[in-house]
Point group: C2
Chain length 660, copies 2
């Protein structure tokens, strides 16, 4: 950052009305955490071992190789990080930076294999495999998804038949659809996997259980007999990850390889059940909370690139002789990007809230109180789906807002988007999750009738429907809160009513939910959207030591976020008479009038996220704004430029065309 800053970008920074450092500290959970993050990132940035070409210049094989190389080095260097690693989160920060935000080959090992071992393994099993895992003497993955089975866990087809004579399980992939498909690092990297399979013993099926299966020899890394394992082929992104397949053919593993902390199979084949069935529950919720965080970061990164570049890029002469304006000055560009900038802030605050809620509920669960788990599950499902969907489409809006250069890998967007977009599918496909959220909302609506008191995020469902109470001061936080509340109430009650009507007509609950699913999805979206808006306002109201200047800016963002949301979804506010047509026109006008005010701080607002140039991987979004000279430099490294004359000349000669 010592280089000359692009003057257009510098002007934007100079015009900001608040202190960027204050906001950075706020966003990074205090000065200490921010300082640590900076130091960890600098460590990676200055380490010659991590220097390499951008991933985009590498073939798939080379991307995998580079991913392994970086991750392997990171493991070796772990002990040198010393006091900078205060907790697991710091290590994740370091590793993410090493992997340039891409999924690395050990993610499943540290994120799923080891945790599953620890949570579901008996003390003997943990004692056997944990030290090996922690020293990377074995590397594991988590093999759940099958080619034909994702969402519906009970439908998994892989079988584990217990053979009491040899005291072994015999594992099989009985059909093509049962082949394990997608698990990260399964294809080439992992030596072991936790394999989920239907357990059969003494002629009875006991459902899905987890088994530790060795896949490859620890001597020569060759796949073992009965194990067919490989890479599932190229994907939209994730080039460095060997997402794999696994076909099991009469593969035998010792009885001791079934994870037996809870369920057990005795040597004679007799089966004993686990005491509780909701044990894996917290993990799912935590993973979804992490995706909400990922959604916040992704759209913040997209906004950073697009807004910085829009300040640098000048385009089209408005009046003859005038200089071409910065693209950021056009209202249409502002109208594309500022809603996403505001979403980045709204999502930041909601991910903080989600993780707080997770901690609270985990504490309750540890005390044996399960009263809020359902609510948390519904909330995390709805927010995961809502935020990831907005960030997913938002990233492409950011990319295309950069014009032609957005399409170049130099923009960083192709990598950013292809790396993020699986979020809308994994850990619960978004539509499925919205339906789970909605199902809980329907249940709450029914519980209310029998006088139940609803917890935190759904307490508002007991409010009356009263459009007339909303008020007309649309820059008032209370008015906006009421608007979103009434919209969510209306859609939830409408969908619930549809379900009730179907059931009154003789349908069962499952059928009724399915028949009304289109309406249920809308209800869950409105509920989640309301939660994000309300939480944004609430979080700001609780900031006590924040400066007045910064508070004003943040308040503006929350207001714009809420107002623009109404304008974008005006139909849902008009349909039930919450607003008149004139109201909507007024609200849209308010958003348009706010655009220049947000523009003043737009660059400073993305600077505060502090994504380093190496994390963004974007020539367009460089902190120094020196876009064009670096675009030219970047292109020189294109693999096609290794030689001046390409293979084409030879082919051309064969075509008989070269001799003029």
């Amino acid at each position: 950052m010592s280089e000359r800053i692009n003057p257009d970008l510098q002007k934007e920074r100079d015009a900001a009305t608040f202190d960027v450092e204050e906001l950075s500290v706020l966003l990074h959970n205090g000065a200490h955490e921010l300082e640590k993050k900076r130091k960890l990132e600098e460590l990676v940035r200055n380490d010659p071992d991590y220097k390499s070409l951008p991933f985009d210049f590498l073939s798939r094989e080379a991307q995998y190789e580079e991913g392994v190389r970086r991750s392997t080095i990171a493991v070796a260097k772990k002990d040198q990080l010393g006091s900078l690693i205060e907790n697991h989160g710091d290590l994740i920060t370091y590793n993410t930076h090493v992997g340039r935000g891409k999924a690395g080959p050990f993610n499943l090992h540290t994120g799923m294999f080891i945790p599953t071992l620890v949570k579901q393994g008996s003390p003997e099993q943990v004692a056997k495999w944990l030290p090996l895992s922690e020293n990377y003497q074995i590397v594991g993955t988590y093999a759940q998804t099958e080619m034909g089975h994702g969402t519906f866990l009970r439908g998994l087809e892989t079988t584990a038949h217990y053979d009491p004579h040899t005291q072994e399980f015999v594992l099989n992939s009985p059909t093509t659809t049962s082949i394990k498909w997608w698990p990260g690092a399964l294809g080439k990297t992992s030596t072991h996997a936790v394999v989920l399979a239907q357990l059969y013993t003494l002629g009875k099926c006991h459902g899905i259980h987890a088994f530790v299966v060795q896949l490859r020899s620890l001597e020569d890394h060759k796949s073992l007999p009965g194990i067919m394992v490989g890479d599932i082929g190229p994907k939209f992104g994730y080039g460095a990850n060997d997402n794999g397949f696994l076909k099991l053919s009469n593969h035998r593993i010792p009885r001791e390889n079934m994870l037996m902390k809870y369920s057990k199979v005795a040597p004679d084949g007799s089966y004993s059940k686990p005491p509780k069935s909701t044990l894996t529950y917290g993990t799912m919720t935590f993973v979804r909370a992490m995706i909400v965080r990922g959604s916040a970061q992704a759209i913040a990164q997209g906004a950073t690139i697009a807004i910085r570049y829009s300040a640098v890029r000048r385009q089209s002469e408005m009046r003859p002789g005038e200089p071409e304006p910065q693209v950021l000055s056009y209202p249409t560009q502002q109208y594309k990007l500022f809603p996403l900038l505001c979403a980045a802030y709204a999502f930041h605050f909601v991910q903080v809230k989600m993780i707080e809620a997770y901690s609270e509920v985990t504490e309750l669960v540890n005390k044996g109180d399960f009263s809020r788990t359902q609510e948390l599950h519904a909330l995390s499902s709805g927010l995961k789906a809502y935020t990831s969907a907005i960030s997913n489409t938002g990233l492409e809006v950011c990319r295309t807002s950069c014009g032609g250069h957005g399409y170049s890998c130099a923009s960083g967007f192709p990598a950013l988007y292809t790396n993020f977009t699986p979020s809308v599918t994994y850990e619960g496909e978004n539509t499925v999750l919205l339906l789970q959220c909605a199902r809980y909302l329907v249940k709450c609506t029914r519980d209310l009738r029998s006088g139940a008191k609803l917890p935190g995020s759904v307490a508002y469902l007991s409010c009356g429907c009263d459009p007339s109470s909303i008020g007309k001061d649309f820059t008032n936080v209370k008015t906006l809160d009421s608007l979103y509340k009434q919209r969510a109430l209306g859609l939830i009650r409408f969908a619930s009513g549809k379900v009730d009507a179907s059931m009154d007509g003789g349908m069962d609950l499952v059928g009724a939910l399915n028949e009304s699913s289109v309406h249920l999805v809308r209800a869950a979206v409105a509920h989640s959207h309301y939660f994000v808006v309300r939480n944004f306002f609430e979080k700001l109201s609780k900031l006590t030591s924040t400066s007045q200047l910064l508070m004003e800016v943040l308040h503006q963002l929350s207001l714009f976020y809420a107002l623009d949301g109404v304008a974008q979804h005006s139909g849902e506010f008009l349909e039930d008479g919450l607003l008149s047509g004139e109201d909507v026109k007024q609200i849209r006008q308010l958003t348009v009038e706010m655009l220049p005010k947000i523009r003043v701080n737009a660059v400073a607002l993305v600077d505060a996220f502090e994504f380093g140039d190496d994390v963004l991987g974007s020539v367009l979004g460089r902190y120094d704004g020196n876009v064009y000279e670096n675009l030219f430099k970047w292109a020189q490294d294109s693999p096609l430029n290794k030689t001046d004359v390409s293979v084409w000349f030879v082919m051309w000669g064969k075509m008989g065309c070269s001799n003029v």
Copy 2:
């Protein structure tokens, strides 16, 4: 297609209520054209010279190489196609099939270099370069866009200074931003380029002119002195295309290399102007019409893959013991895909209309009648932006509707999307085009006041605003037409009113348009959307020899398209009181109730587009529906599977972890 068909897919086909062949003939402009298309495609399919691995398995370099190889072979085989090639369109069909729908290295040569030569070259210039070009003794591209200049043509910085002493032009890229950037095949393939540059002669600048510049030696293909040329690096897609850069340093070309059909520079440097300035006008409109066609095809391909796969994929047990339903049976899946299926049909009919309109107006222009060129320009701008935007986001909806497998390159979606998405940016960035369309609508609104009569697509602007006349029979075509008309009128008048008000306040037109641009974009979208809806209805009403059974199905599609459009944009219909909240609820309910009816024919409706498996490049969208066994086969070819043991084992050994 001789293999066993997946039984779920066969059931769908058997249930169709209409004759697929009849619809195919209709979509392909008659039995003769359809037959020709089938034969051309079969020729490519059965030609061993065109066999190769999927592009997704190849590195960038290998993709380029394979693209060149296929295109070069296609050139050599051109003469063997005989009577199958009746016109230029047939050759495009063949070449597209050869290139598997990807942009090939000769696209700019045949699509831009030669046409520009022919249209803007003097007879001597055409006589010199055309035969060389047609025999591929030289290969050309069209170098307009610069690193810092896309949309705003007059802002181009490349200079061509005439030197009367040597009778040469001296070409320069005076700044980094002036480096030519993006032209297809410029990097490694092309020997020549038409370069657009600011012409200076006798101390005066005469604006942008076109120059033929040789880039590479015809002896050894090395780049010439003064020419720095290369590949701009990896992109989101377009791997086979060497989009390039060109930096000119005092590069001299003979005076005769300026294309001089219209403008001329005499040996002494004196300049003579062209007689007309709107000469390149028709080309732009034609290219945009082609993008509308491309949008129709892209979303039709996406719908084909997603709908076939949704019929094959079974997911989630609704009730214990029941088989998992086909994903296509879920209302939420239908609600995602059927609007896009209907859009594919709506866009098909509108691209036919666009090309008809282009022909009509071209005929008028050839007779010296320029009265409809502005209208056609506005219409093509609006429709290009509208249809490409819908298809662009729609493709990603299709992909994610396929769950996890949509993310694999085996789905075909990554290639389809990355190949299509430039359409929203090139040949006029979508927002810029919508503003051009809106600017014309504003002009029309003003012309009306002075009593002008408006042509075809904008004639409705003279209608009165009368919400009460709309009627309540929402399955009536006239009602729906009125609804869309009134919505467009309302938004156009609102935006025009804003512009007028700004000008009344003393602003100039340019400033007023810029200030109201957010509203203008909405107006142009509503105008274009109305045109698509109206044209869908009109085209169907003109089908005379179509069977009753097919007519019913097509009518259903047009109805669903219009109704769903209202439901999706309900705010704009409610805001001006065109509909009540109850009306919108009723319309949404109508769409939900139509879902199962459309589902009956969904697979047959995508079959009728007749995209061969090799064109779709999708394991999920195979005609035979044998998805899973072929997914497994496909993965075997992944480059990472060339060896069982990967590079990782060696790194692991170095890490000191392998010896347990």
